[in-house]
Symmetry: C2
């Protein structure tokens, strides 16, 4: 494409409201414009990059026998009501009414809709397995859209769904997708880690997230370099250090703590109770019913873990009045002692067996000391609740966990029979019995892959596209548009490259070389070719990779083959997972 | 693709609620399933066909220098409010609120949204012309979704927009698109006619529709075989036959017509006034204000023409009480005589100069006779209002018009400066003046192209796909799956065809040949290859075209080349317009 005809509105200034690199660069390099909060218009360069990501996805989906569908974005409420998610999705789901007053929503995901086809058309184990996917537009009414294309309200997703006769089949389908995801992300130039994850509103028994390590991400990953353990901190746990508590008291003893409201308050004189000897007690409302959660004073409760523990669709912190009704005190003086029968109590396993601990007395401005967890919280259910911190021990080996920010680019779920049972998607098994189909669900955020590639591959001057998803392979610059020989040589090379199937953005504008070099760096195509008066005297073209400072002089006659070889060599290869 | 792995749920019965051929066949051949009224899930075969239509569109858009964008489907209300179409679109637009209560809609079309980019980024005539397009999902809350994919509430559209500095530029951009449309539709195997059309809510000065002649269509086309004149009846006119009226009366004369309500009533004894001597008077409300329309008793008023005449965004028949307030009588006794100053009166030109006519007296149960249009309706504005009928004279030549049903597959508009002025999209012209950009808008219904191809190309057994948009080129049937030699030969041919880049649906199922032949006819791929014990004895494969009864026996060794040649020969060629 000739740059003089191309619509690429580059900006000199960094837009004020753009924080992360991909957001800044997508705006500056003329890839996107914002239409509304979390709603972006994709200009031609973005479309070219997205199309390449999609092509990689299609190839890898075809390789595992997945068939491409295309389902509507506008959904009648009924399938969502059948699965129960019409309620669960809450304000994240865009809802609307049609002219007759019927209830509709915009699809956030398509488990329900794919299941409507599966239940109508699949009859027998002979029809299984089926692996279906689409690359399609999703809508989510994010509370806080931000970071350019990283957190938006409309985006493109590859979502796949597998239908198997049993759990063993699901394991195979899940593993096919997992391996395909490794190939897809590596081919798109992403370095990433596959981590154990929380399944959230999706439900199901297990899920794996694919995370790119970048501070632009909003998730936290705990991983162990020694054994390869990696998990989202919503799911990650750590080795529990043994504690050497004293014998404590024969029974908990109440003491007055006027004005004490926080763990920190109780650590100060005259009390001096270190955070690791305190029990932190929190009350949540899980699907309308109160639950009590207890972690150590120096730990943070992880809400995702509490949600898993309660199996609740909806979980929120209790309001003060709800807490007082339940425990008779306000936050700051809460404790689990004596609460048996009032609400389920979940306790982090790091507290099992601890003695001589301090907690609130469920009386404002009073605490208890000498608490023995086994004796005084015998009704507690130990379940992992705490958020793992950097430097804690790996739960699988002697290593140490490091915690870092990650950006989710894919998430795969073993759904099991949750949707099939709710929506009556059954088939006959080999024994002639009616059984629910066993499902999996597998998502990739297409724009996120593109934006993650920019987060990983950029420098102060602009984007450095991986070859596989670059909008064009080559930036061809003609440096002197007033020199007819230069123009002719550049025109000829442009034609020769295009005939060879190489995608070229040809900067034929009447601009100074400096402007063209700057623009080329900003847009970030992997290979830059420059034809100028000087090189042309020797029938040479300057070749420079975006990621290198080095300039090669290549004979014009050899340029096409030279570029072809570079494209081949620079295209990221598919990497299979180790296991 | 192996049929045994493919999800193609064919049906034996014709679905009861499907009327038109494309709807029946898309359901029966396993292409689509309905999710809700006017909302369809596309199964894999549909996706393959749609992708091919899109590819033809992309190639022809690229050939005229159009750049591909991708804009959101979810739109903030503001741009629509700026253009005034937030109101105009009425109940056809899906509207919703986000979690903060902000107003949004689902895009029915994208003039406003493309204009937001144009006004922000285009500064000067030097940036023009620009031709931008997308292939994207549109939403329209149709009052009566029907006919499968022909009238739906969610669909895919190629919409292009041109931005020029002046009307001459728009003429060129419009002509580029018009020619591209001829190539696109002909390449997709459609026979069609380009007709003059009404611009409707799009506004602008001129528009051309691309119509496929089929009874499944909902438009009416009037065309002249002699001179090539063709227009939607919303726009078409006809030659006016001269009338030889008598001198009439010196003034209109009132006479009682008790119980007469219709043109037909007045034609009966004792009145005996033939319909072609009556003036039919109708009252409409145009943007809130009444207008009177008068056509001949035997003519039908065309509302689209009246809307153009009034330049109203919203037009509806007046209610009886509104009519009585305006004219003092109820429908059945209305007339234009003596209405000057009460409301604009539009009169079909076929009535100009007529004398001795009969019309309502604006007094219930009374009419006037002896009406002289020039004398008694001097305040009328003559403007084309009538619907053209089959057999009327061509307005351009001595020929005769035929009127037939048409299905709109594309529509191109000269918008002019309507949106640019409303939304302040201005640029500097060569003289340094600030001028609004001059726009055009160009749409193709992608699913409609596919469904129109089925309407044109099918028989009693199923679809007969044009090669260019067929989901696969070839149906390969192995006739005896218990004969190892047949299976091997079919497997080998399948592999050889695929290696040659030929798209094959390989029916490897354990089914009787009759089932496979029936399914192949239903799905309708252009070339059928069948390998069976008999042919294999001579190392031959049966080749049959879907549109022919003839079977060729081709040596297996030559089959790939034979099929390649067939594909080339059967692919519809691009046809340029005559002018």
């Amino acid at each position: 494409m000739r740059r003089s005809k191309a619509f690429i509105p580059t900006l000199k200034e960094v837009p004020a409201d753009a924080q992360v690199a991909s957001h800044q660069l997508l705006l500056r390099a003329g890839f996107v414009r914002q239409l509304g909060a979390g709603i972006y218009s994709y200009l031609p360069l973005t479309l070219r990059a997205l199309r390449k990501v999609e092509q990689v996805i299609r190839e890898e989906m075809a390789a595992i026998g997945a068939q491409e569908f295309y389902f509507p974005a506008l959904h009648p409420a009924e399938p969502w009501q059948e699965s129960g998610r019409w309620e669960v999705m809450g304000p994240n789901m865009f809802r609307l009414k049609d002219r007759k007053g019927g209830d509709y929503c915009l699809g956030m995901t398509h488990e329900e809709i794919f299941t409507t086809i599966a239940r109508a058309e699949l009859r027998s184990y002979r029809n299984l397995p089926q692996v279906w996917y689409q690359i399609q537009t999703k809508f989510r009414d994010e509370a806080r859209p931000k970071s350019g294309l990283l957190r938006v309200r409309q985006f493109t997703m590859k979502d796949a769904y597998s239908f198997d006769i049993d759990a063993a089949g699901l394991d195979r389908s899940f593993d096919d997708q997992r391996r395909a995801y490794h190939r897809i992300f590596s081919r798109c130039g992403l370095s990433f880690v596959a981590v154990e994850a929380h399944s959230g509103s999706m439900g199901g028994s297990a899920s794996t997230e694919f995370m790119v390590r970048t501070n632009a991400g909003e998730d936290n990953i705990a991983s162990c370099a020694a054994c390869g353990y990696a998990a989202n901190t919503e799911k990650a746990t750590s080795r529990i250090a043994s504690a050497d508590d004293g014998p404590g008291l024969a029974a908990p003893e109440k003491f007055p703590t006027p004005g004490v409201r926080t763990i920190e308050d109780l650590g100060k004189p005259p009390y001096g109770v270190t955070a690791d000897r305190q029990l932190k007690t929190l009350v949540y409302i899980a699907d309308g019913k109160p639950v009590i959660a207890v972690v150590r004073g120096d730990q943070q409760l992880n809400e995702a873990k509490l949600q898993s523990a309660t199996a609740a669709d909806d979980l929120r912190p209790a309001h003060p009045e709800e807490i007082r009704t339940l425990l008779g005190a306000l936050p700051g003086s809460l404790g689990g002692v004596g609460t048996a029968g009032r609400a389920p109590l979940f306790l982090d396993p790091s507290l099992v067996g601890r003695r001589d601990m301090v907690t609130g007395a469920n009386q404002d401005d009073h605490h208890l000391r000498g608490v023995d967890v086994a004796r005084d919280l015998a009704h507690a259910q130990p379940i992992d609740l705490r958020t793992v911190n950097d430097g804690e021990g790996c739960p699988r080996c002697d290593g140490v966990l490091s915690v870092y920010k990650g950006l989710e680019v894919g998430h795969i779920f073993k759904l099991g029979t949750r949707y099939a049972v709710a929506m009556k998607a059954t088939v006959l098994n080999a024994a002639g019995e009616v059984v629910p189909v066993v499902m999996g669900s597998y998502g990739i955020g297409v724009e996120r892959v593109m934006a993650a590639a920019i987060e990983l591959h950029h420098d102060a001057d602009g984007i450095c596209w991986p070859m596989s998803i670059a909008p064009f392979h080559v930036a061809l610059l003609s440096l002197q548009t007033t020199d007819a020989a230069v123009v002719k040589a550049a025109d000829d090379l442009y034609a020769a490259l295009e005939s060879a199937g190489i995608e070229v953005l040809y900067d034929d504008r009447e601009e100074r070389p400096g402007v063209k070099f700057k623009d080329a760096d900003l847009i970030g195509l992997p290979i830059r070719l420059a034809i100028g008066t000087k090189g042309l005297a020797n029938q040479q073209v300057e070749v420079k990779l975006r990621t290198s400072k080095e300039v090669q002089l290549v004979p014009l006659a050899e340029a096409v083959q030279y570029v072809k070889d570079l494209i081949r060599d620079l295209t990221p290869k598919a990497i299979e997972p180790a296991s």
